[in-house]
Symmetry: C2
Subunit: 576 residues, 2 copies
């Protein structure tokens, strides 16, 4: 440590809000170079490499082959798949000296697909899975929390190519298991959640979320059954239809003072002498939607009045179409849309597509807008008085909602995305027409999976999940050094003894960080806690009596060990 | 090999000119993604990592500490040192989503300097050497020869920080030795040449050049003494001044038909009845020069008429000033410049700075321009009739020139730059005001060295230096696999035996590439030669008689080895 390029900081950096960011900077693991762009100092780089190695070993174990693609990429392949524009501002674009458009790769589906097309041509070559551990670039709108969400970051991305759906499923399952092993080895606490696919296209997809209060991803889980899902992926349990028999006719009422759901419920309880709640009202939200290559069109979304429309869930349900809220001009252009009083009838009379929450099942009766100012209709029955064009998952998910598996209720939690596995299907192989000669002699279009692990992000996640109020605490698989050996005794015999012990530990295959600085024991102990090696050995006062102290950074336990037994005792602790 | 992501190519790629490029593509080591941007396939990545590891080990051995800086960098530090503009079109510049200027790092002096300034503050912290093995970007005007000169490439760059010149010298020497070890371990044939510093600034500097006909760098060496230097760094041996006594007066002659050096020499031999050659004429070349922060000014460069001005040497001599040739407008604006007849007198009368080749020593007499059309002056004596403002190394260096060490003559050769070591001095520490508290309590400005190894380029260099007409041949330190084991016998016993042998070699710590493909022995042998593992083992016809064949890819020698002794014989060959 007397020569290590390291200065610990007493104070939290001004721009840091989350514990991992504060501690990784204070402990000298990383330094900021630009917003969302970080340098890795010696200790940080050791953790990063350790994470990489665990990921590499588990990828190799499933037969994935490591390659390395460039970060500086040509525009053309991304143009062919539409992602040159789809990525919007998140893509770093640049021009070379000849004015040719290039980009910094945010993910490499295009290049891997082209590569496989270039090399392989027969069913005999299949399946193949390729991966890289590589630096990626995304111009995040809000880079945050240090290396937790950076603009330059290290990812492991892999891509599987298979002849058919069964093959894709097998490649997907192999990655799923490899990821479980990776995160278990690293010591990450995580959940696997059903996910939508975001901008990646494709169908089946799951996210690995590290549980963390500072996470940006909200997910829900069912404690009873273990079900977990990204909020965007939660499916409302089906609602049984109700027979229409005996349901009263719908009736339009004047509702002069009920422009909001609350006031409408008050009006209903008063005027209809019933016991109504917001859940009895049907709220119709208008948006406009544009499918790829099509024009904007109106869409009505009906949800029970006690729930908001969750725009992210709405977007995920409509993907790959774009969604926007209506402008005043849109309302002017469509005078049948009476703000605050939009009802299913007005939409259907004007041929506006109308999708409803699954709770708006056939036979359910609703209080809703009557398409005229200050008028609502009561007892409007789905399937009798209006027929939606289908259902949509757009209503917010709330704690206490029934789990889709019917085995309990959902509660929400925060997580950090650390892995993502996708069954992409043929989106990219179609774009690049990747066929191989099939066993029957006919061409077979390959089907593809794409799988990512946030390698540099995991360093922050581990810091986030394992730190305590004194500093970092590294799981053994990723610790920068196995042992932090503190010299806390100025006697030359103790100093020499510490040197010998360090050399013996090194010879025993352990990596030792030796604190040989001219600093007080107090300063050294504080730094050892901040830096977070799991095993701390102190050569202190006891050395004269033939003992060293062995501290466990996780449990805080301290034991005295005879110097003669120190190497074996320390090795045993490290390998426990 | 039946599952390895590899397809060898029969034909050379259309865009490849040099052998390493052709072979690395044909053997499936790399693939082009964009001009000067390459993907590393499994075998190529293994070589790249092997080179990285050798570099890493030798850097660690001299106490350098590994860190990792980003490639995406802010403009500001490069603005502070002037390199944002100095780099010209070679710098990849981009804007982020907020319109902030950024760049892709071509080299990291600025960031390392800022980092050390941020962490260290005392003489007790010094010296420190930091390095990284990292992906760099330069928008080369002519990316060429595959990974030999790419626009995205891997470099090891290190930076030393010292308190004084002696410290810098020690850091520089440590790097010099480390580089010698690196290149020796890798098996590169190289020379160390004295170099100028290019855009890096600073003083002492040497280049490590791999000897290669396809190299872009020309260097000269003295076979007798071993002296070697970049052409830009060659210093002309001093010429003794000659006494003026008895030298005839200079005289202006009409030379109507002598606009060129050749015609002037003809005229002189005829009109003066002497034996003159081009070396007796003095050619004055006019350029304009702009020092940083200053205006353009004229500069006259006088060289013996038998030599051209070497513009790269001229530029190197004048650095950091810029140099340009004169335009017609410049001649119009300076009517005293009579094209073809410019002489020292006209320049000096008009206060144009005038620098001469060292061969234009005091007392040497010249035939040169008389500053009037169709007139030359004969017998113009340096130091008597004109006094240059100094000497300059701008004349071309030619085979047969005297070596600067006086021990022989120079011959030129081609090389590829694989390493470069610089004593930068305080250029960057001045720019960022990097002081530490000195031992006396006063601030000390740090002095700096910068050192680079072209890691990905070395893969091409090794391919270039070691290939033969059959394919690649890898030195043992970098070979993708220790052993290429070819199954060239369809009998199940032989196939099983090869599998067992591969497993045994693996258990003995050797990395084995097993050719288990359904292909003919001929195809497999050709691929083995193309791929270039140093040791090839063939399980072929002899297997029934209890022998396998051991081939040395370098010597071409083949020996039969009993199956029972195969592991130890192969291990011995690999470790020889």
């Amino acid at each position: 440590m007397s020569t290590l390029f390291l200065r610990t900081l007493r104070d939290d950096p001004a721009d840091a809000e989350v514990p991992s960011h504060k501690l990784l900077v204070r402990a000298g693991y990383v330094r900021r170079a630009a917003p969302g762009v970080y340098s890795w100092l010696p200790l940080g780089l050791r953790v990063l490499r350790a994470v990489e190695n665990v990921v590499r070993e588990e990828m190799n174990a499933i037969g994935a082959q490591e390659i390395l693609l460039p970060a500086l990429l040509p525009r053309d392949p991304y143009e062919q798949t539409g992602r040159w524009t789809e990525y919007g501002d998140a893509l770093f674009r640049l021009k070379d000296r000849k004015g040719v458009d290039m980009l910094l790769g945010p993910t490499h589906e295009e290049l891997f697909t082209q590569l496989v097309k270039g090399e392989y041509s027969s069913y005999k070559d299949m399946p193949v899975t390729l991966y890289q551990i590589q630096t990626k670039y995304r111009d995040e709108e809000r880079p945050r929390a240090g290396i937790l969400r950076g603009r330059e970051f290290v990812m492991k991305d892999s891509y599987s190519f298979d002849l058919d759906d069964d093959g894709l499923k097998a490649s997907y399952d192999a990655h799923r298991e490899a990821y479980q092993k990776i995160f278990a080895r690293l010591g990450v606490k995580y959940v696997i959640v059903a996910a939508t696919s975001g901008a990646m296209g494709g169908s089946a997809s799951e996210e690995f979320l590290a549980e963390s209060e500072v996470g940006e991803d909200t997910f829900v889980r069912c404690v009873e059954s273990g079900y977990a899902a990204n909020v965007e992926a939660v499916v409302t349990p089906p609602v049984e239809p109700i027979p229409f028999d005996g349901l009263p006719q719908a009736k339009v009422h004047d509702t002069p003072d009920a422009p909001t759901i609350d006031s409408l419920v008050d009006w209903a309880n008063d005027a209809l002498e019933g016991t109504y709640s917001a859940a009895d009202t049907l709220k119709n939200v208008l948006v406009k939607v544009r499918a790829p290559g099509a024009d904007w069109e109106l869409l009505g979304v009906g949800v029970p009045g006690d729930r908001e429309v969750d725009f992210k869930r709405l977007e995920a349900s409509l993907e790959p179409a774009e969604v926007e809220l209506l402008t005043e001009d849109d309302f002017t252009a469509n005078p049948f849309l009476v703000k605050g009083y939009i009802g299913p009838k007005g939409l259907q009379d004007n041929e506006v597509r109308y999708l409803v929450d699954p709770r708006v099942a056939d036979g359910t009766a609703w209080i809703t807008g009557a398409d005229e100012p200050n008028k609502h209709v009561v007892g409007l029955v789905a399937g009798r008085d209006f027929t939606p064009d289908g259902t949509i998952e757009a209503a917010e998910v709330r704690d206490g909602d029934a789990s889709p598996d019917g085995k309990g209720t959902l509660v929400s939690a925060k997580g950090i995305e650390i892995g993502h596995i996708f069954q992409l299907g043929r989106k990219y192989t179609d774009a690049f027409e990747v066929d191989v000669l099939g066993e029957t002699g006919k061409p077979v279009r390959l089907t593809m999976g794409s799988y990512g692990v946030g390698v540099s992000r995991l360093v922050a996640v581990l810091a986030e999940q394992w730190h305590d109020d004194k500093g970092l605490r590294w799981p053994r698989e990723v610790t920068p050094f196995d042992v932090h050996l503190v010299i806390a005794n100025k006697d030359q015999a103790a100093v020499d003894g510490a040197g010998t012990l360090a050399a013996d530990l090194d010879a025993a295959g352990l990596e030792v960080l030796l604190d040989d600085r001219k600093a007080s024991p107090g300063v050294k102990f504080k730094d050892a806690e901040l830096l977070g090696m799991p095993t701390v050995v102190v050569v202190g006062r006891g050395y004269a009596n033939g003992v060293v102290e062995l501290r466990d950074r996780f449990t805080g336990e301290s034991t005295e060990v005879p110097v003669a037994d120190a190497v074996s005792a320390i090795a045993a602790a490290v390998r426990s």
